[in-house]
Symmetry: C2
Subunit: 354 residues, 2 copies
């Protein structure tokens, strides 16, 4: 690992290599130091490349997820304090859902600007507690600190039967690639919310109010697919899974990279679930709606691979939508509307990379 | 809870009420929403007022601690990236030690400035991993994000026998009040490190180099009293405990406030363990060395209450130092060198309060 030097610095800086390589560096170092404890087992290091850690608890795993949310990079100005609190919980529960784990408790570490209105503090906490109730767990504790910006650092604990846990690795050629809901809606919401005020005013005249309402709701009030994850977990039919936080293409790449044997994935453009609201925003903004689904994050839908028979049995009850199939090609491909097969590039959002 | 309005704002801001009241607000709200889960029991909410949360695991508790460290408020400029990583682990392990719990794993969420040198990132991770090895646990996972300043948000998991756990509540009149080591050394170190460069240069000429070395080590390389906590835990003789992060007076107040029945504490000035280096710094800086011990934090020594017989048996092996006794007065008092009893005010460090 000798990253090229930055144009602007003598020494390499983290933006020179990006988040995923940083995490690989971190894991490479920690792998060298396997702890000798009854709480760790063969799954332990596999879990490190997932967005959660697994600890032995008899016939169950204790699952630990952690996510740090910052005002400057995770909260659009339109997001209410209540929804910021909700999101700090949701992003963690989504990681549990992606493993079929059931939440048991949440720990919140807060960084707070000294001049934060007390009212906003209360709303953040209400949002956290509301989300904890929604996902049937308790707020276990936390820590508050003075900070330059609002920081919500959440850790969520969950449990899952060892036989039932699903992870990023495990996809088999022939499996159906499925998602739990429409893609790119939050992306459309962020595209709208993050456009300059002047542009936004103009857009409001050209976009249906109901569309604006829908896409904003997906962007500002994300929901974790916990029930789907728990039901799929109980069935024990999922071969691999993750949640879609960085865009479909990037998450598919993660599933492929995690696989111990060579697998590929072929998507079918006609199967990608795009709702009319996403099509409308894309056309108004002159963008490709498919791009919202493939290359943006924040959908928090589950992405999973599952045997064909199991998929057919469960798709209606769980609203599963097939988007492609697992192959043995080792490549990510997408079949377009004309039936032409193209290579699928992953260009999901990554911290430290612009 | 209707805090007075700030002089500078129409609406109350969090600095108007301070950290401890903020946490009380948070807990008051979460108490109203007791989760219905086999993982929670009667100890659960008691643990919320400790610096850790407890979850049921058969005959053990899973202990979860969380601490958020920020460049701007927790790391003096002299602190190396390696020591920043170490500290992120140490502050959490110290919370486990204060309950007699054994560490099982650590989760790290990082907020990183985009221009952080890769070398510093590596050193931070090395510090984290070194500390994880020192305390015999693994780095279980984490999360990285782009941030305006360096943020190290750590969550530590530990286990402790239900019969052996000690908490802030439980002190009994007649118990010995003891600490595990000298107090105020880190405080002396920070007083030196945080003084303006010009002043510092002048100080260096008036303070023994060996003294500067000692106090800086305590300030920059804090160590958690894990072994002492584990041994005391196995003996099951501690009636209440906490770690000294906010100064002895403030922590004693915590033990008193946590007690379901009325207890008081009387300290003896002549018993407070002040090392010569602290005396030297205090005299050079024209401060009262006792103030370093009573009203500064960052010592990370354990503060505990314990029956007199048990104390006499263990004090030599564990280096326990008596500083006072538990009374039934409901007051915090200190007996000075002349034998005069004075009220002891708690003025420990508190976020959002200057």
């Amino acid at each position: 690992m000798s990253p090229k030097k930055s144009k602007h610095h003598d020494k390499p800086i983290i933006s020179d290599i990006g988040e995923k390589k940083l995490i690989k560096r971190l894991l490479a170092r920690s792998r060298a130091l396997q702890p000798n404890s009854p709480f760790f087992d063969e799954f332990y290091f596999k879990s490190l490349s997932d967005d959660a850690a697994l600890l032995n608890m008899d016939d169950k795993y204790l699952v630990v997820t952690s996510d740090l949310l910052l005002e400057s990079s995770h909260f659009p100005t339109e997001m209410s304090a209540f929804n910021k609190g909700m999101k700090a919980v949701t992003v963690n529960v989504s990681d549990l859902a992606a493993m079929g784990a059931e939440p048991v408790g949440f720990v919140l570490s807060l960084g707070l600007p000294h001049d934060l209105p007390l009212e906003e503090f209360d709303e953040i906490i209400c949002g956290v507690l509301e989300a904890c109730q929604t996902y049937k767990m308790g707020l276990m504790g936390g820590d508050t600190n003075q900070a330059g910006e609002l920081i919500l650092s959440g850790t969520c604990l969950g449990v899952v039967d060892k036989k039932k846990v699903f992870m990023k690795e495990g996809a088999n050629p022939g499996d159906v690639v499925a998602v739990t809901g429409p893609l790119g809606v939050a992306a459309a919401g962020f595209e709208f919310l993050l456009s300059p005020t002047s542009v936004k005013e103009n857009l409001k005249e050209r976009i249906k109010p109901s569309t604006i309402e829908t896409i904003q709701k997906y962007a500002l009030e994300p929901h974790a697919r916990l029930n789907e994850g728990l039901i799929l977990g109980r069935k024990g039919v999922v071969t691999s899974a993750t949640d879609i936080t960085d865009g479909l293409a990037s998450e598919l790449d993660e599933l492929m990279q995690s696989s111990p044997h060579k697998v590929g994935i072929t998507l079918f453009e006609t199967m990608i679930p795009l709702i009319p609201e996403v099509e409308e925003i894309a056309s108004v903004l002159n963008k490709n709606p498919l791009d919202f689904a493939l290359n943006y994050g924040e959908d928090f839908e589950l992405l999973l691979t599952i045997g064909e028979d199991a998929f057919d049995k469960l798709k209606d009850d769980l609203g599963l939508i097939q988007v492609g199939i697992v192959t043995d090609s080792g490549k990510m491909e997408i079949v377009d509307k004309e039936g032409k097969t193209n290579t699928l590039e992953k260009v999901g959002y990554e911290h430290f990379k612009q």
